[in-house]
Symmetry: C3
Subunit: 293 residues, 3 copies
């Protein structure tokens, strides 16, 4: 905890320190160990850095902290938020498979409701959001990136995409609609069905990301430049217009939750899906053992 606070202090500008401490910091530290770092620069733009080694898997607690960050930044009248990762080669591995495999049902329901809550907060955010991708970004991690308004990837030897079908998982309809919105509809079909993963330059060409940068620092800077475009646009005008251009994925998500808020739990608990996840986890464990030997 001490280390986290020190790192935060080094990163945030002097002017925002007290504000941050009385705002978001308190809430994070009161709930559990911080799995992310939140700092606000002198111009009021926040950087949310995922820091849950080894691969920033999105578990219940991390999702809760992302959700809380939206509230804290809104309370601070923040100008915008850039999401990135503290890890050198991974942005995030996506949803934490341990939450999905042989789960406690009550916790699994809570996990999904927090994931959907984070999605709704991105869709209806009162400040602009962007993602600075600095490493591997598969499945749920790319869904998180799509939820923000703008994506800049660093160059590097990693891949970006939405590969749920390779794990035997059928993507939620609202995520499909978000892909159709982000990429060309036809190319979204190819990418989603075949679980295609793209290099940073191909991701740019196919529209998965909006810009490419030499490194993480430049990617964050480009995200901040994007956010500054809204300096002279009233906040409400921006968020209402964004909500309207994204009405299809947003309304699909709302309808999905209204029909049955726990349908993702039911879907994941299917025998076939549990079996697929079991095979995948076993494969991962074998790799680890091989590396250790």
């Amino acid at each position: 905890m001490y280390k986290y606070i020190m790192s935060l202090f080094r990163q945030i500008s002097r002017v925002n320190r007290l504000q941050l401490l009385s705002g978001c910091m308190r809430s994070i530290s009161s709930s559990s160990e911080p799995l992310l770092d939140l700092s606000v620069d002198g111009q009021g733009i926040a950087v949310l850095t995922l820091q849950r080694p080894p691969v920033n898997s999105l578990n219940l607690e991390l999702l809760q902290q992302i959700s809380q960050s939206f509230d804290d930044l809104a309370a601070q009248n923040c100008k915008g938020m850039v999401v990135t990762s503290s890890l050198p080669t991974v942005f995030s591995a996506g949803l934490d498979i341990k939450e999905l495999y042989k789960p406690d049902i009550k916790r699994l329901n809570l996990f999904w409701s927090n994931f959907h809550n984070v999605a709704l907060k991105f869709f209806t955010s009162e400040f602009p959001t962007a993602t600075a991708i600095n490493g591997h970004t598969p499945a749920g991690a790319y869904a998180l990136a799509m939820l923000s308004e703008y994506r800049v990837t660093a160059k590097g030897n990693f891949t970006i995409g939405f590969n749920d079908t390779a794990l035997g998982i059928v993507p939620s309809t609202w995520i499909i609609e978000l892909m159709r919105h982000t990429m060309n509809s036809r190319r979204a079909e190819l990418a989603a069905t075949a679980s295609t993963m793209f290099s940073p330059s191909d991701a740019l060409k196919e529209g998965l990301v909006d810009d490419i940068a030499d490194d993480k620092a430049e990617a964050i800077e480009k995200c901040k430049q994007f956010i500054k475009k809204f300096n002279n646009i009233p906040k409400w005008t921006h968020s209402e217009t964004l909500r309207k251009t994204r009405s299809i994925p947003l309304e699909t998500l709302k309808k999905f939750l209204a029909e049955n808020p726990n349908q993702m739990t039911e879907s994941v608990m299917k025998k076939d899906t549990q079996d697929s996840l079991g095979v995948y986890i076993e494969m991962m464990n074998q790799r680890k053992r091989q590396k250790t030997t």
Copy 2:
């Protein structure tokens, strides 16, 4: 008025003169001063030239005359219509802000119903329509251009785009859907939220226009070439197919009007929007004064 009729006589082909005079001319002159020029060439293709200096703002009367032109041209069994501007550097400044700021409510309701009426006439036109852009085309002016089926821009030192959010105005859902239809969905989001204005060549690259020409004359000629593509296609087949490919923005507009035909009035009368418009008008007035000094 005399000048207008003379210019019309010079422009229209001999063969269409009497027809025009007994058709559209009468109706325009009977309502009020002509704010547009309508001529039909020897092949039955009309050119509608906006001429309301200094910047072709779309006020109530101009919208009424555009609407009337559709009826007149349909009665003449016209082959198609090209919209352009008589001004050297401006296609149109968009909706006349004077109609929106501290308005007479009854006139404002009439203004919006005429704007929506023009939109419906483009969506359901029985002849193909195209726009030859020859100067600045922001906000409502670009909405007008999107309503036509084909857009050719002249080269030049001006910009094209939909910048409502910069004025504190949230675009109507049906205009958002029309942007999503015209551009890539994702790029439409970026352009609409950030009020991005594009140079002619960038507008071509992003899909805001379909072709680029050396000057206004060539832009009009390219629009006419587009219209001639439909020479051998039955009119009803063309208009029905167009209506189907544009079903999303069209149905969104119909639903919008069915819900509450005066919701644009209510939206514009919000204090925040009136304040934004006031600031904008004051800014414009200051610029004028600076130029005069």
Copy 3:
């Protein structure tokens, strides 16, 4: 019939012969003369070759045999299906106009129900499908190609597109939605209203096809490579995800059929459409006579 069986024997791999004979072959031969050739390679990928000279027009019987092929291949647990043509310069001329002009109404209803049945089988196929285009592909033939998941065209002096309006026919809403899904929405509008036909290289540029090959053999091979991408993806996961990415055209088709399963018959029986078809058929007959003289 003998010739067909011999050609089939030459084409299919040894290992699949008995399986095929007891599966799809029986059903085809029991209904009527085979209008297509169906072979399965050693890796379980089928090639369905349209062979109804002179131009592979889709008549009732050919549609029935395509539909039956889906059932036969599903029963064989087939890996995927590539559709192509036995003719050197034509993939298919599209729907057989003789089925539409002065038809027996009962047969016309059956014709449309089989066409829609084939569409539904492509939309909900449990194995991936692809089309190797090796010649002219207008109207209904391109609709068939769009229904498959992936399109590769050979190079050549032929055109590809959806030109129904040129025949005076308004495309069905679900086909418009399928075009909007396959191409950019805006470009689909231009292509559908103006009945634009594209060269193979333009078809690639506009997104009507996904890849281009030197010849038919390479086009088939590229289709097979596409199908192999799904080797490690559970079948149900693939087909469910495909169904979700294509929900708009699929749901539009379902709604269309629920409203009135015979509305295509009613549409085609309109006097204007019958007249257009009559003119077209007369034109075709004149061309034939000119060639004969």
